[in-house]
Structures are given as structure tokens and as C-alpha cells.
Symmetry: C2
Subunit: 413 residues, 2 copies
């Protein structure tokens, strides 16, 4: 007999960034500075009060309770209260990053062969968790022209099958930067309630809404208590991606209980990370405001810079620290490789994430890239200069001709 790995093992998607990494390494070896617009790893320091907690580590680094220490759960309750969300301790489970919360939520709410509706483009790793859980992601298309806001409810209804079990919604959205309006979130919740679906809401970027807007948590939708499962993470809001700490929050007893049993299986979430999390209680009330201001400034730099470039199209991003931009290129995979292998300006180039990796539907996103703005303003300005020169150079290199001014003007609005 031959030794074969499992079908799902074969189907596990590779990171769409992965194949670009060797090209980035090669560019760096050639002495080219690579400006990373491709990843959501903020350059900001993890707040010192959080890091200081490491000095309180005990001499036996022991298992913690499977659902998290009482202190860590309490600190999360305090955080949610600050956002007007009241959660009991037994409505929260501390997880190893938002990633594990997503895996628990999908596994608890759907079985092998079941379907989850998700708006595309979507966070590329949803596909990995869905493959592990054996759940099929059914995409509903959002469009750049609508600022990637939700498609009309009729489209959701058309996508329903007897296997549909849940809607997976990321708000504020990675990769589009869209912040769904309250009426959109309520409409999705009503759709879920009407059709017996769970609403799994990934709210990792909760506070990152700009221009005075505020993201609506699915936990804040009246009448949706039974169906909402929020997955959350400390990674982005505290620039602490590497500690791997997040949580699952739900008022649905069955989902909470099944998730706790999964949590017991893997014994406990990381203990040191839970210590670090306790430091969040020392952060002043202005911490989040300053964070939002910082990212809003960065968004402004990139949005204003890029939207001036001929042939580039994007509406003003509303939240998170990503957006999807349409570039005057035929093939974003080729463009991203070319940037790393064949181009530099002022000794620098940029690394972007080709958008096809964020779509489930083959062929979509070929003229789009995802941009993350987690660099400082100076580097973002340098990135705009690089792209301003790169776009026409790429079109020349690939024989695409000049960008028509009329089309450029129309697209740039």
C-alpha cells in the first residue's frame, strides 16, 4: 500500500504571501530596501505596562485553566465593558490568538460538508480554518465601487442551501478596511435569525474605525444573543501579535460549552500571554484614541498618495489597517513578483499582497492588491513614491501601454 496524506492535508491552502518571501529575501540580499505593505504586523511597541507583567512570571510556568485564568477573563470583561458590551465570565473563553477562536467557532457551529457564507474578498486564513474544520466557504462578492460594503440581502438568500450553517463576518474588515454600518450588521443578524444560522463575527479590529465612526459589534445587536459568536484577539489593538492571545465570546450556552470542551482538549491557552494581557488594565483611557489617531494618519498618507496615481482606484478606507486597491495592472501576482525581482526606486521597493489570495472565486482580484499600513508615515510616503514610479514602469515592461487619461480620471474619481 502507498502512504498518502489526507485529502484535506493536500487541500490546505499555502499562504499566498509565502511564494513571494524568497523574492523579498533575494531583493534584500541585493541591497534593496523592502517596504512591507503586505503584512498586518504593526511596528508599534507592545505597551510597556503589558511587557512589564513578564517580571511577575511564577517560578513554575504551569497550566492555566483551559478557559483562561480568572484574572485574564476579568480583564477581557473590563475591556468589553469599555466598549459598552456586557459579558459574563462564563461567556468568554481565552484562546491561543483569534485563530484558535475561529477554529473553535467553525467546529462548534458546523460539521464536515456544511457551508459558511462569507463576503469576498476575505481574510485569507479563513480558508485554512475552514479546510481544517471541513467546512465549505461560500463567497458573496463585495465590490470596490461600493467600498466593499455588504451585497444586498437577496444575494445572501440566493446563496442559502440546506447545508448553510453560519455567516462569517469580519468587521472592521480585513482585507478591505470596510466598517459595516449598524443597519448592515443588523440586517445580517436578522438574515441569520430568519434562517437558523450562526453569526460568527471576527472583530479583531473593533476600535480601528476612522473619521469618528464606531464599529457595531454583533454582540450589541438586540435579539441576536443566541446566534452570535465573536472571535477576538489582542494582537492588533495592543501590537502584540506574537503572544498569541485572543478569545471567543458568546451568549450561546451550547457553543460556549462545546468550545470549552475543545479548550480542555488542548489544556490551556499560553500562560505568559495571559500575564501580559493583565497589563491592559493599566493603559489609560486615551490609549485606544491615540491608536486610532495613529492609524488614521497612516491611512490618510497612503490613501491620499495612492488615489492620486493614474489608474489607481479605491474608496476611502474606513477602518482596520488594510485596504484593497485596484491598480492598472493585468496580473497582481506578476506585479508583486516584479516589484521584488525587477524594480527599485531610490534603493527601495514595496511588497504587496496580490488580492486573488483573498477571493474564493477563481479569477477575481487579478487587478487588485491588498495594502497594510502598519509602517510609519515616512516609510508610507516612500512607498507611495515607489509605486508612483513602479506602475508606469511595470506597464512599459509588460507592454500594457500608457494609462488612458480619461479612464484614469474616471477611475480615480
Amino acid at each position: 500500500m502507498s502512504l498518502q496524506i489526507s485529502e484535506r492535508g493536500r487541500q490546505m491552502p499555502a499562504s499566498p504571501i509565502r511564494k513571494l518571501a524568497p523574492l523579498a529575501d533575494a531583493a534584500k540580499k541585493r541591497g534593496v530596501r523592502v517596504l512591507h505593505l503586505n503584512i498586518g504586523q504593526p511596528d508599534l511597541e507592545t505597551p510597556a505596562p503589558m511587557r512589564r507583567r513578564l517580571a511577575t512570571a511564577p517560578s513554575v510556568l504551569a497550566y492555566t485553566p483551559s478557559g483562561g485564568t480568572a484574572e485574564c477573563v476579568a480583564s477581557l470583561q473590563q475591556y468589553y465593558r469599555g466598549h459598552g458590551l456586557s459579558l459574563e465570565a462564563n461567556e468568554i473563553i481565552v484562546t491561543t490568538g483569534g485563530s484558535e477562536a475561529l477554529l473553535f467557532a467553525l467546529t462548534a457551529c458546523a460539521g464536515p460538508g456544511d457551508e459558511a457564507l462569507v463576503v469576498e474578498p476575505f481574510y485569507t486564513n479563513y480558508m485554512a480554518f475552514a479546510t481544517m474544520a471541513g467546512v465549505r466557504l461560500v463567497p458573496l462578492r463585495a465590490r470596490a465601487e461600493d467600498g466593499f460594503h455588504l451585497p444586498p440581502i437577496e444575494e445572501w438568500t440566493r446563496a442559502l442551501t440546506p447545508r448553510t450553517r453560519l455567516v462569517l463576518l469580519c468587521n472592521p474588515n480585513n482585507p478591505t478596511g470596510t466598517v459595516y454600518r449598524r443597519d448592515e450588521v443588523e440586517a445580517v443578524a436578522a438574515f441569520c435569525r430568519a434562517n437558523g444560522l450562526f453569526l460568527v463575527a471576527d472583530e479583531v479590529y473593533r476600535e480601528l474605525a476612522y473619521d469618528g465612526a464606531k464599529a457595531t459589534s454583533a454582540l450589541d445587536v438586540e435579539g441576536a444573543e443566541e446566534l452570535v459568536v465573536v472571535t477576538d484577539s489582542l494582537s492588533k489593538r495592543y501590537s502584540a501579535c506574537g503572544i498569541r492571545l485572543g478569545c471567543l465570546a458568546t451568549r450561546n450556552r451550547q457553543v460556549w460549552d462545546a468550545s470549552l470542551r475543545m479548550a480542555q482538549g488542548r489544556l490551556s491557552p499560553p500562560g505568559l500571554a495571559q500575564l501580559v494581557a493583565l497589563g491592559t488594565s493599566e493603559l489609560g483611557p486615551d490609549y485606544e484614541q491615540e491608536l486610532v489617531k495613529e492609524y488614521q494618519r497612516r491611512r490618510d498618507v497612503l490613501y491620499e498618495g495612492l488615489s492620486r496615481l493614474p489608474g489607481v482606484f479605491l474608496l476611502k478606507p474606513e477602518g482596520a489597517f488594510y485596504f484593497i486597491a485596484r491598480f492598472p495592472i493585468g496580473d497582481s501576482e506578476d506585479f508583486a513578483s516584479w516589484l521584488l525581482s525587477d524594480f527599485s526606486h531610490e534603493g527601495a521597493t514595496v511588497m504587496v499582497a496580490p488580492a486573488p489570495g483573498f477571493y474564493a472565486t477563481p479569477g477575481l482580484g487579478r487587478d487588485e492588491v491588498r495594502i497594510a499600513y502598519v509602517l510609519n508615515e515616512e516609510d508610507l510616503e516612500a512607498s507611495v513614491r515607489v509605486l508612483a514610479h513602479a506602475l508606469p514602469a511595470y506597464r512599459r515592461a509588460r507592454g500594457l501601454g500608457a494609462i488612458e487619461p480619461a479612464r484614469a480620471a474616471a477611475e480615480a474619481r
Copy 2:
């Protein structure tokens, strides 16, 4: 429509210890000292050179590479070399504890509905990972009279079906404390090779073999390179259960690659834990020897104490820090509850894990308990005194009558 969680969500097993926890808490509230023989959380300090690494934490606690930092992978290679096992960097993936390594291994090697052969009694959380992965565990019974060594190969062959994909072997064994002989490990590997099965070997207790014995790693079996997937953890050998760091080690390219893609989905293993792991390189060559000596002393205290008690049966445990003992009780679940709720001696009682939670076959293990010896010698001696009084008292309380001296003598060997 009604909102139902998934079938596997319902089937996720609860921790068999969980229902005893409130009873232990109540006993403590009554002022009774509870000696925990029920959990594998060592009381030893995490080595200081490891904890000191926390002072080197960077100011941005960033994602690490999905398969672990180069330094962390190198420290694991160094550890394996110390055990005569040569592994390349691209044969290791750093995971969030041994738990995640097990989930990756099961998911990569088997699909929903596929079967894994496992010797029972087995580590109870295997059931949780199997349920998450949709894999059915098919138990082969090991017996106390054989010191829980492996059943003959004919029984393995009889258990084969067209859905069998792998053997899951824990060596040294939790919960039985058995260390399989080299010929046993080689026979299982040959069985796997002959039948196109993976051999997933959980070797978390690798160094904990007593009386001069040495556990045989599946990585050290010639000709089995393609089929062996080792899951490992720093938890037990460095008394660092709470950091959640382990690894998957395999020379099978497909399994490694699928596991790395799963690792990419969840972004990275805990960064602080990887820092802590680097401190293992500072531990002297005698660290492991001292560790083995310490646990061997503890085993001796418990084994000598318990095997003298009338009606108690166990062969001398060979490794790890657990064993399964047969007690003269009708129902170990009831006995474990009774110890916490209705008994104390010298102001103390013991908490044990009823063995049925470690069997997949209903009805097995009812007169057995799993004992962990992770307490200091004084506490272990106190535990023996408690049990010496508890066993006859329990029999009286349940009307089981006195233990027949003949049976007792025969069983105690």
C-alpha cells in the same frame, strides 16, 4: 429553523476530571488538604535559565515565522541530537504545545471517517483531537497483567479496516507508565509499513524511563522514515506546561508541508514561549539525569507504598510519571468522588483520575485509577497513608466486605 450546534460539537468529550473539580474545591473549603495525584502538572520549577530569557523579550512582541523561529528550531535540533536523533530544520515545526502537534498530525494523516488504532488505556485528550479532526479512534486493549505492554500483532491486524490510516502510540506512556521495548516499537513500525499506515508517536515523556532503561524513539527505527510523525512538547521535561510549546517532527515531506500550511493558517506559535525555549541550551548535561532521578525516587515511594496495600495491583511503572493501578473498589468514579466528599485522614485526602476516562471501550477501567506522581516525596508518602486508610473505609462504606487475604496476596504478587 432552530439553531443547533454541530454533531461533533455535541460529541466533544468533557474532561473526565472536570466533574470532580467542584468536589475538590468543596473539600478545600471544608479545610481538607487535597493531594493531587490526578494531574500531570509537575511541582518542579521551570529551570531558571529558561525563565531568565523573558528579560530578552523585544519591545514589539511580533509574529514569529509560522514554523517557529530559526533559533527555536535550532535549539530543538540540538535537543534531538542529544538523544541521538538527527533532524534537519525543515523536518521540525514548532507548535503550540504537543496538543497542536497532535491535531496537525491527525488532520494531515487522516480524513473525516478514517480510523486510528490506539492502545487503551490512552491519554484522554486523544479523544478530543480525534473528535475535532473527525477521526475515529479504534482501541486495542493493553492489560495490567502485562504491565500494559503492547498486544500481539495479530490483534492489530484484526483491527484493520479499509479506513485505517494510522497508529497513535504514546511512548513512554501516559497513562500507564509503560516504556515499550525496542522490539515492540519496531514491530508496530513494521506493521504500519506493511499496511500503509502512518505511525504518529507521542514522545512527550522521552527521557523519563527508569532503572537505566531508555525509550526508543520512532524516529530511531530504520526504514520507518516515511511513516513516522513524532509529536513532542517541552511541558513535562522542563516543567513548563503553561508556556504551550511543542513540535512536530517528521521526515515525510508531504506531512511536514501540510502541517506547515496549517501552521501558516494560525500564523505563529507563541513567541514568548520560543524565547523561553532557547534557555534549554544553558542546561547542563546532568539536567535530564537529575530529572529522571527525581521522578524515579517519586515512583519508588508510590509504587512501594501502594503495592503493599491489600487488594492493590500494579506492575512496577517503567517511565513517564503516571501509572494505572487496580484498586479493590467496584467503581473508580464513585471512589474518586467519595475520597473528595466523604473521607479524610490526618486532615488530608487524595484526588485521583478514574480510569474509565482513559478507555474508549465502555465498561473498562472501572476498578482502576490513574495516578500521577508530580508531588514531592513527603506528599506522596502522605498520599499512601491516606489511601491505606481510604480503601478499607470505602469498602465498608459501600458494603463491599473485607478484602480476601488470598486474593489480595495473589494480586499483590
